[in-house]
């Protein structure tokens, strides 16, 4: 009797779980394979290169840098000075971000196979087949176990193969397995949020908020010894405390797996009680009527990019501010580290040879003297470098904003707007204007971000005025506009080939970034708009070049609009 009941229960809940799992794994194979390959190429692939590139002296330097509170907050507790060999250093350097990435992979994996499927109506079809009530969720978990398991084992073995004497077999497996366990923890958590939220976007958002909270709670715990336990309450903290190649603790692995199972159990419970397409937290109704913003096409463009724009600006501010935290001991870094020295001094044409046997303090004094003799100060040189690198990073944002015009077209939404009395000029101008404005705003916010922290950390605040920061950031704007203008031209002339702008962006990045180290011939930077930007304080502001660059941007934009007005609008569904 009891036996039959049990079987009934199993049937109604889990029937055909394995079939569904096989099906999910089929759907997942390419994505999972891509993740496993790319992730291992990046994470394990760095090992041999870094072992070669970072000699013993540099290792000591790096290890001691990780003891700075700011670094502990960013990457977890420092232990690389305690343990020998490359393994500990490498774990200290990248383990947190590495496991965090696996967490992100799992957030998408679980959402894809549960909430997203439900939203698209695929789950309904599955439920109409003779499958158990919990079979789909179970299959999603099994899929996650297979993918994370494969990731763990492959990464563990590769780390063992790539590592030096300090990276033995058991610690390498711990390295891999912790990745998998953190992955499963996020899989379980995401499954829980998939029950709570009524749509996949909500589930992904909640999961990311949790991830970010974990990150900061862990940072607080790692930085304050009295609150150390906080860190261990988060999967990220547990992971860094396992510290493969250093303390090599295995118990965090058990805790992670146990906690994952517990969270998964809650997800199961909720899943059994809720209805299809519903969430435990009811969906908030949106606006029944549009605000005044949505009465023009330009308003729509703004509305579509608003959130991304705000997040970008916050990101730029935060990045600027966090770069500025280093300004306090920038002279120490430059004096003692070849890499920084090249990065900062080469573009300024300053030669600085560290004499043997000098103490750090003496080095700093000599360095400052040399730099000041050349008419600069180090904080300005550093700000100049930050500007340069930040622009290369953030340039993607204005490009994305203007390329929205093209993705809207591919999705078939442009024709809906152009079928109203909205002219093409006005339609494209909305996205172009947001892109141009974003470049300007980003540079202003960057200057403010740098300035906000710099004032507190540099010994002599007069060295780095807001006026200087504004000027040195805003001179980039014409070059950024030129990049957007090239994108606009492509949208007008070759809408199917707008990918060219990303290739050109990558080229610009390479030439300018590596160009700082004077590896490439100098003329190469003039094949990108960035070449014409004065690097303050080394260069003088060159109004003629900047005006010409702006004129080029205007001409390219005008040409883009001209051709956009003359071509067919094509949605991808119709081709």
């Amino acid at each position: 009797m009891d036996k039959y009941k049990r079987e009934d229960w199993r049937n109604s809940n889990f029937s055909n779980t394995f079939l569904l799992t096989k099906f999910m794994l089929r759907r997942e194979r390419f994505i999972a394979l891509a993740w496993i390959i790319i992730f291992n190429v990046v994470v394990v692939g760095l090992v041999p290169g870094m072992m070669l590139a970072i000699d013993v002296d540099a290792r000591v330097e790096l290890a001691s840098m990780m003891e700075l509170p700011a670094m502990i907050a960013m990457i977890g507790p420092a232990f690389a000075t305690i343990y020998e060999g490359f393994g500990a250093l490498y774990t200290n350097l990248i383990f947190l971000f590495s496991v965090l990435t696996i967490g992100i992979m799992n957030i998408f994996l679980i959402t894809r196979h549960t909430r997203a499927d439900e939203e698209q109506g695929r789950y309904e079809v599955v439920r109409s087949l003779p499958v158990g009530r919990l079979a789909n969720l179970s299959a999603a978990f099994l899929t996650a176990i297979v993918v994370n398991g494969a990731m763990s084992l492959i990464m563990g073995l590769l780390m063992f193969a790539a590592g030096d004497y300090s990276m033995g077999f058991a610690p390498s497996m711990l390295w891999g397995l912790i990745h998998g366990a953190v992955g499963l923890a996020f899989a379980a958590l995401t499954a829980l949020f998939c029950q709570l939220s009524s749509n996949s976007r909500g589930a992904v958002s909640y999961s990311f908020i949790a991830l970010i909270l974990f990150y900061f709670i862990r940072a607080a715990g790692d930085m304050n010894p009295d609150m150390a336990v906080l860190s261990l309450l988060t999967p990220l903290g547990l992971a860094v405390h396992a510290a493969p190649y250093a303390s090599n603790l295995w118990w965090p692995l058990a805790v992670l797996l146990g906690a994952s199972a517990a969270v998964a159990a809650i997800a199961y419970r909720l899943s059994a009680t809720r209805d299809i397409d519903q969430g435990i937290i009811p969906a908030r109704p949106g606006r029944a009527e549009a605000s005044a913003l949505l009465s023009t096409a330009t308003g729509l463009s703004f509305r579509l990019t608003r959130t991304a724009l705000i997040l970008t600006l916050i990101g730029v501010f935060a990045l600027g501010a966090s770069y500025a935290t280093i300004l306090g001991n920038v002279d120490e870094f430059v004096a003692t580290n070849d890499f920084y020295r090249n990065l900062l001094l080469t573009p300024a044409g300053i030669d600085f040879e560290a004499a043997e046997g000098m103490t750090t303090e003496e080095l700093v004094t000599v360095l400052n003297a040399v730099v000041n003799a050349a008419g600069f100060n180090l904080t300005q040189l550093f700000a100049s470098m930050v500007n340069n690198i930040m622009v290369l990073l953030t340039l993607a944002a204005p490009l994305l904003f203007v390329l929205r015009a093209k993705s809207e077209e591919r999705a078939g939404r442009t024709e809906l707007i152009l079928a109203t009395p909205t002219c093409r000029f006005k339609y494209l101008a909305g996205f172009a204007a947001i892109s141009f404005a974003a470049s300007l705003l980003m540079q202003i916010v960057l200057a403010v971000g740098l300035h906000s922290i710099a004032q507190g950390v540099i010994p002599n605040p007069g060295d780095l005025t807001l006026a200087f920061l504004f000027e040195s950031a805003i001179v980039y704007v014409p070059a950024m506009w030129t990049m957007s203008a090239i994108a606009i031209l492509l949208i007008g002339v070759a809408p199917k080939a707008t990918g060219i702008i990303w290739a050109y962006y990558a080229y610009t990045f390479l030439v300018v970034f590596i160009g700082r180290l004077a590896i490439f011939p100098e003329w190469l930077v003039y094949t990108t708009p960035m070449g014409f930007v004065p690097q303050l304080p080394m260069d003088e502001v060159n109004p003629v070049a900047l005006v010409l660059l702006t004129a080029v941007a205007a001409a390219l934009t005008a040409a883009g609009f001209f051709f956009y007005n003359k071509r067919d609008i094509n949605a991808v569904t119709h081709v």
Partner: protein, 296 residues
């Protein structure tokens, strides 16, 4: 009467493929015109040319006497468009999208909007990402009918609607028709065409093969007939325009070209008619004939 739509010899090539091969159409103001044809015939392409989204390779397309490409913005003040595949912005609500379209078209009638949302049974507070295909179509339909325009261009607007909503849609079209507004309707739903449309144009492989009222089109096809006579009918198979003769328990069954009907009935009359039933071709049959016809 003025033409609301005038298409003269319009061709449209996509690379080497020619989607429209010299389309000619004249539609009068206030007319409800059905534009039908098999998949890939060129209906949506014609509509996109009319909207100035595609530029015709040759020929002219005019709406309200203005050039569809050059004067697109002027024209669009007087038209509303609903595509078959409505793709909306996932993070805007249905209500926001309706207002956006209505605002862009420049008219604003709150009561009408409210009534239509109610009639179509739409929840305007939901994000478009959560709408089904039918609900996305409803959003576009409400936005169209809530706008004050003279011509509705609808490209398979009901392909995702349930029968109840199809009914609501038909009421909306009839209401606009009564108000003297024109409708250009591409559709695969024959009952819809039959109920709503004044005239029908059939396009096949980029060419308009027939235009006319439903009655006119029926004239070009065959009636199904069943007759019983006192004496056996002789020589029926020798007559022009008679096809597919079969013997059935109720009598003789065959098809007759509509234009030959008189002669055939006269012939049968000689044999003493006991029973005569004739069925006009259903719309489906009528279109099936056109869809399947070989060559030009």
């Amino acid at each position: 009467m003025q033409y609301s739509v005038e298409i003269n010899n319009v061709t449209k090539n996509f690379g080497k493929f020619s989607a429209l091969k010299g389309v000619n159409l004249q539609i009068q103001e206030g007319e409800v015109f059905a534009y039908i044809g098999p998949n890939g015939a060129g209906k949506s392409t014609t509509i996109r040319v009319l909207l100035g989204i595609l530029q015709s390779t040759s020929g002219t397309a005019k709406v309200f006497g203005k050039d569809a490409w050059r004067d697109a913005v002027e024209i669009h003040k007087k038209i509303a468009y609903v595509p078959g595949d409505v793709n909306l912005w996932p993070n805007l609500t249905g209500g926001e999208v309706i207002d956006l379209f209505v605002n862009l078209r420049g008219s604003h009638n709150k009561d009408l909007r409210k009534r239509l949302i109610n009639d179509f049974n739409l929840d305007p507070t939901k994000k478009c990402r959560t709408y089904s295909k039918g609900n996305r179509q409803k959003v576009a339909l409400v936005a169209a009918f809530a706008s004050e325009v003279d011509l509705y261009i609808l490209d398979e607007p009901t392909s995702g609607l349930d029968p109840l909503m199809e009914q609501v849609f038909q009421e909306c079209v009839l209401e606009q028709k009564n108000r003297g507004k024109g409708v250009f309707l591409s559709s695969h739903i024959m009952s819809e065409v039959e109920r709503l449309c004044d005239r029908v144009g059939i396009i096949r492989e980029g060419e308009v093969v027939q235009v006319g009222t439903l009655d006119e089109l029926r004239h070009l096809t065959r009636y199904a007939m069943t007759v019983a006579t006192e004496r056996a009918i002789e020589g029926l198979d020798k007559l022009d325009g008679v096809f597919d003769i079969t013997k059935e328990p109720g009598g003789l069954h065959f098809h007759v070209d509509t234009l030959r009907m008189g002669e055939v009935v006269n012939h049968i009359n000689q044999f003493g008619i006991k029973k005569l039933e004739s069925t006009p071709p259903s719309l489906e049959e009528l279109f099936m004939q056109h869809y399947k016809k070989e060559g030009a």
